[in-house]
């Protein structure tokens, strides 16, 4: 049984990783004919070309700006909202959560199209301004918000609600009580929410595609690359992205296991 499950997992992981592996290998291909499936020697030339591509770097810059701004705003708004929703009665809570779930259930393309209709409507009434960074940030905050709320809510539910009241009884102002008592309790949820918002924003194509106007983000740039003659530059780009993510994840994982170990040590000492 064990061997069977090992083999099965191996096959499935092969399925998940083989395409990525192929992408990475061919980013080092020294091809001149743009052909993507014939190996003709090792080279870094597609990386060199990638770095020189001003449009790509510009798209990358836009993507990062949007992701950072959207992640911060949606985290602040979302955390406040989670606290508010937590204090609501059952009926109101249910109604608000239904609206929260809407963008998660709705197909991306419908969300994108509907936001586009709104933005274009406003843009036209403001004298035909162009959609761009601003509309992209608004759209990204909108689809990130539910994820932030859903990762903060469970932490709030776990927290003892009397703590906050006790702090106030002991003379803390509501704001101080929030920062001293509530926030430390829910920080893990807030951080998870922020990371999710950041990655969702970086990865989003469909909603950005409809709300971008003339601005290019990285996924939109990749899309226009795949519509044209595809150059192995795109492979080089994939490799770099994959490498970055892998390093990030390893760091996060390493820190988590260190935290866990520290916790275990504390437990043992106690």
């Amino acid at each position: 049984m064990k061997t069977i499950s090992r083999i099965y997992s191996a096959i499935l992981f092969l399925f998940l990783y083989a395409p990525i592996f192929v992408l990475i290998v061919f980013s080092f291909n020294n091809s001149t004919t743009m052909s993507r499936s014939v190996w003709s020697g090792f080279s870094f030339k597609w990386y060199a070309q990638l770095i020189q591509d001003g449009m790509l770097l510009n798209a990358l810059k836009n993507t990062l700006i949007i992701a950072v701004v959207a992640a911060i705003i949606s985290t602040v708004l979302g955390t406040a909202a989670a606290i508010g929703i937590n204090g609501m009665n059952k009926w109101m809570k249910r109604m608000v959560m239904n609206v929260t779930n809407l963008p998660m259930v709705n197909p991306d393309i419908v969300t994108g199209v509907s936001l586009m209709l709104l933005f274009v409507f406003v843009a036209k009434s403001m004298g035909n301004v162009s959609l761009g960074m601003f509309s992209l940030i608004l759209a990204h905050i909108t689809f990130c918000l539910p994820y932030v709320i859903l990762s903060v809510m469970p932490k709030l539910r776990q927290m003892d609600s009397h703590l906050y009241e006790a702090a106030q009884d002991l003379g803390c102002s509501p704001a101080l009580a929030f920062f001293k008592v509530v926030l430390p309790e829910i920080v893990p949820g807030v951080v998870t929410g922020m990371i999710m918002a950041f990655t969702l924003s970086i990865d989003d194509f469909v909603i950005s595609y409809f709300t971008s106007g003339t601005t290019q983000t990285l996924p939109i740039f990749i899309y226009s690359m795949t519509r044209k003659r595809i150059s192995p530059e795109i492979n080089a780009l994939s490799t770099l992205l994959f490498g970055t993510i892998m390093v990030l994840l390893i760091i996060v994982n390493f820190r988590q296991s260190k935290d866990k170990k520290a916790e275990e040590n504390l437990m043992e000492e106690a």
């Binding site: 099965y8 997992s9 499935l12 499936s37 406040a80 609501m88 509907s114 936001l115 990865d203 194509f205």
Partner: protein, 272 residues
């Protein structure tokens, strides 16, 4: 306590950016170019019934395949040591962090007539297979892109099943097959439901996978909507009508799925 008021900015935000846009879609769907009320757009959606049927069929196929392939893996992962579990889950999630256009593009290189799979087959002396630009390729692309959304909720439900319940069933004389069909599977139902929704919704509405792997001949609902807004047949009113029908279709499907979910748990296992 006035904690409720902390949600006010959020409520305002969602009204402006979720509710108002939805209302706009409805308005567009029921008006013509001049802004007058009409049912013509909705009636015209009927013309594209075969696109809807194809999308539902391919989406459902991809969902079933993801479930059949993903369930065993989620089960296997939930039964190994905790340390290795987190590593395996990370391995499942890692490809998701790569842009999905790039993931789909990777399959283009693999599936082409002169692509890597066919070169491999040729070197083994097997003839070439026509893989790309078929419906099979589209389904493959969907399964590949969305299978992590199936595995993760399944896994999070499966790890929460109390092992003493299973032991009790075994003590009462149930064999492995019975334990699975009578205990494990029913208990993992919330995960199955949220997995199915999380795969079916994006699969049925995709507009890139069909373009890249289907050769533009296997169009889906998503492509149709794209075509009306930013594509070759500009008609935002018809596009809104199609979006509206798609939304209704998905809501009904979700309603059906939720009926199978007896538990209180909201959405089974959200990822992370």
């Amino acid at each position: 306590m006035k904690a409720k008021s902390a949600a006010a900015p959020y409520a305002a935000w969602m009204s402006i950016f979720i509710i108002v846009p939805m209302i706009l879609v409805v308005i567009f769907a029921f008006t013509d170019k001049s802004g007058a009320f009409t049912l013509k757009n909705i009636a015209e959606v009927g013309q594209y019934s075969n696109v809807f049927l194809r999308s539902i069929w391919l989406g459902a196929l991809a969902t079933v395949i993801s479930l059949v392939l993903g369930y065993p893996l989620a089960y296997i992962i939930s039964h190994i040591s905790a340390r290795r579990q987190s590593m395996m889950i990370m391995l499942v999630m890692l490809p998701m962090w790569m842009n999905f256009l790039l993931r789909t593009y990777a399959w283009m290189t693999l599936l082409e007539d002169n692509g890597i799979i066919n070169s491999l087959l040729a070197s083994f002396g097997i003839g070439k297979l026509h893989l790309i630009n078929t419906q099979g390729a589209v389904v493959l692309g969907m399964v590949y892109n969305y299978i992590p959304y199936m595995i993760l909720p399944l896994y999070s439900v499966l790890t929460k099943i109390d092992s003493s319940v299973i032991e009790a069933a075994q003590d009462l004389g149930a064999n492995q097959v019975k334990v699975f069909s009578k205990v494990t599977f029913p208990m993992s139902m919330p995960g199955v439901i949220s997995g199915i929704t999380m795969v079916f919704v994006p699969a049925v509405s995709t507009f890139i996978i069909s373009k890249m792997l289907g050769g533009g001949a296997n169009l889906m609902i998503g492509d149709l909507i794209d075509m009306q807004f930013l594509g070759s047949a500009y008609n935002p009113n018809l596009g809104s009508a199609i979006s509206l029908v798609l939304m209704v279709l998905i809501l009904i499907c979700m309603g059906i799925m939720n009926q199978f979910d007896d538990g209180e748990s909201n959405g089974g296992g959200m990822m992370i």
